[in-house]
């Protein structure tokens, strides 16, 4: 059962200050309404994983581990690999995170990131089939939130993509009926698209991008638009207790499309730099 969350005590005090600031075009940390916080990307940090990344979006820190194993395909897609995304809101990331099974926030986050990757066909799942109906590659994306300072969706999506881009798996050859030979571990995954999630938050009557923790506590609602490399929208998710006017949705989509190119270049550059 989903229940109205407890509101953070800072919400009431800070709200007026934040709204006034934003209405004058500035935010608590001095950013302009559509600026993202500084992004740092590191990859290949967990050697035991097939791929990994550590992304910092301002003070938000997200680590992603990609593990690829062999397993059975789903019944209705016998010739496709399997993708599964899980999120842990690790208790050390925030005084508000409790240990336990994933709550609705962790689940929503995992499913939104999953949607972005799946609908954009970022991974060529068809190329992960070894023996149709019997053996395929299963990709586990585990998103580990380590420091929560707002905008977990965008940072988790960036970290997932970075980890996927730098994942290395064995080269598999199928011998005979059902024997699979694995050689080495330096083949990349078939990455075909680069979906980027852009989250907008509505505070008072103004819209900002990449909300910080304080901004999330006072926002009316958020809208995430995930855009692929061809400027196609592959996921959208409204969250929060407030509402959007259809015209606000239109302008957020425009912003998201233009911002996603910027973020995509940054990410691809950082990944390339890391690998060299």
């Amino acid at each position: 059962m989903s229940a109205t969350p407890q509101l953070s005590p800072i919400a009431k005090m800070e709200r007026r200050t934040l709204i006034d600031l934003i209405e004058s075009g500035k935010r608590l940390d001095g950013r302009s309404p559509f600026d993202y916080r500084p992004i740092k990307v590191r990859t290949g940090i967990i050697e035991k994983a097939n791929g990994s990344s550590f992304v910092e979006l301002g003070k938000t820190k997200v680590m992603v581990g990609v593990k690829v194993e062999l397993g059975e395909p789903f019944e209705d897609t016998p010739d496709q690999g399997v993708l599964t995304v899980n999120v842990e809101l690790v208790p050390l990331a925030s005084p508000t995170f409790e240990p336990g099974p994933p709550n609705e926030n962790a689940i929503e986050l995992a499913r939104v990131v999953d949607r972005g990757l799946r609908e954009s066909e970022a991974i060529g799942l068809g190329e992960l089939c070894l023996i149709p109906g019997k053996k395929v590659q299963v990709i586990f994306i585990d998103i580990y939130v380590l420091d929560y300072d707002g905008n977990l969706i965008d940072s988790s999506a960036l970290a997932s993509l970075a980890a996927l881009l730098t994942s290395r798996v064995p080269k598999y050859t199928v011998k005979g009926e059902d024997k699979i030979e694995a050689k080495g571990e330096d083949a990349p995954l078939p990455i075909k698209n680069y979906p980027i999630a852009v989250t907008a938050a509505k505070i008072g009557g103004s819209v900002i991008l990449d909300p910080s923790y304080e901004e999330e506590q006072v926002m009316d609602a958020r809208l995430t638009i995930t855009v692929d490399k061809d400027d196609k929208i592959c996921a959208a998710q409204k969250g929060g207790l407030g509402t959007f006017h259809p015209s606000e949705v239109d302008s957020i989509i425009d912003r998201a499309i233009s911002k996603s190119s910027e973020l995509r270049s940054k990410l691809l550059e950082a990944v390339k730099a890391g690998e060299s």
Partner: protein, 255 residues
């Protein structure tokens, strides 16, 4: 949304623009709404939309248990979306799935802006949506029915909430996709609005849409929500008109 059409040449939309279930591209499925059907609930509603059969009950405002979940200045809205094991083609486990949890959250967030929760501090308002039979678009139908149940319970609201989805099937934007269209289509875009205030309370999308398709789909969905809202008004008024009608049937009552 698994994208595996068994036979790629199976089109879901015929050359004459007619869909698998005989509908036009912009046609809603047949809808039936009834209010106040459960005796023990404070408010209730039942909706059929195509093959969807959904029942929603509202309890509250009532005492918050346990006390620590209560909010000091408003009612807590609690919402549960749950599918009956017999609701789908293959029997499903009654245990809540990840999808159930996400839908419970987005449905609650679709209703929150409408409920004037400040009037009932330290209480909970519980909304239980049971999907008795599922055929695509259940979260939208649940929201529509939940809104009816909240109104039936006499819970003050700024506006009703009406919901409808659009999809992209065989390259076309279609209204109110059924399950087959959902599973085999290129996109699914559920929307909920407060019709009089003109504000969107639920918006999700998965699939692939250009900006223009998204906006066209959104407009189509909003128009349908307005139509659905008209049906909500009828259903709420009917509950009271029915009483008047049954009075007349038993005869002899002077006005």
């Amino acid at each position: 949304m698994p994208r595996s059409i068994q036979n790629k040449s199976d089109r879901l939309i015929g050359k004459d623009g007619i869909r698998v279930d005989g509908r036009r591209l912009d046609e809603l499925r047949p809808i039936k709404m009834e209010v106040g059907i459960l005796d023990k609930a404070d408010g209730s509603a039942y909706i059929e939309q195509g093959k969807n059969k959904i029942m929603v009950a509202v309890f509250g405002p009532r005492e918050a248990h346990p006390k620590h979940v209560a909010l000091t200045d408003r009612a807590v809205l609690r919402c549960r979306y749950h599918m009956a094991p017999f609701s789908t083609e293959e029997r499903r486990s009654p245990a809540p799935s990840r999808r159930d949890m996400e839908l419970s959250k987005v449905i609650r967030e679709a209703l929150e802006p409408a409920v004037i929760s400040q009037l009932y501090p330290r209480t909970t308002i519980d909304v239980f949506a049971e999907i008795l039979q599922s055929d695509g678009g259940t979260r939208c139908a649940s929201i529509t029915a939940a809104s009816l149940a909240l109104a039936d319970a006499g819970i003050p609201m700024r506006d009703m909430v009406a919901a409808c989805a659009v999809g992209k099937v065989d390259g076309e934007i279609v209204l109110d996709p059924c399950d087959i269209e959902d599973k085999n289509g290129e996109a699914d875009l559920p929307v909920a609005i407060m019709p009089n205030l003109g504000m969107i309370t639920l918006l999700q999308m998965d699939g692939k849409l250009s900006k223009e398709e998204f906006e066209r789909g959104l407009n189509m969905a909003i128009k349908a929500c307005v139509e659905i809202h008209g049906r909500q008004r009828e259903a709420l008024k009917n509950k009271y008109l029915e009483i008047e009608r049954s009075m007349e049937e038993y005869g002899g009552e002077e006005q």
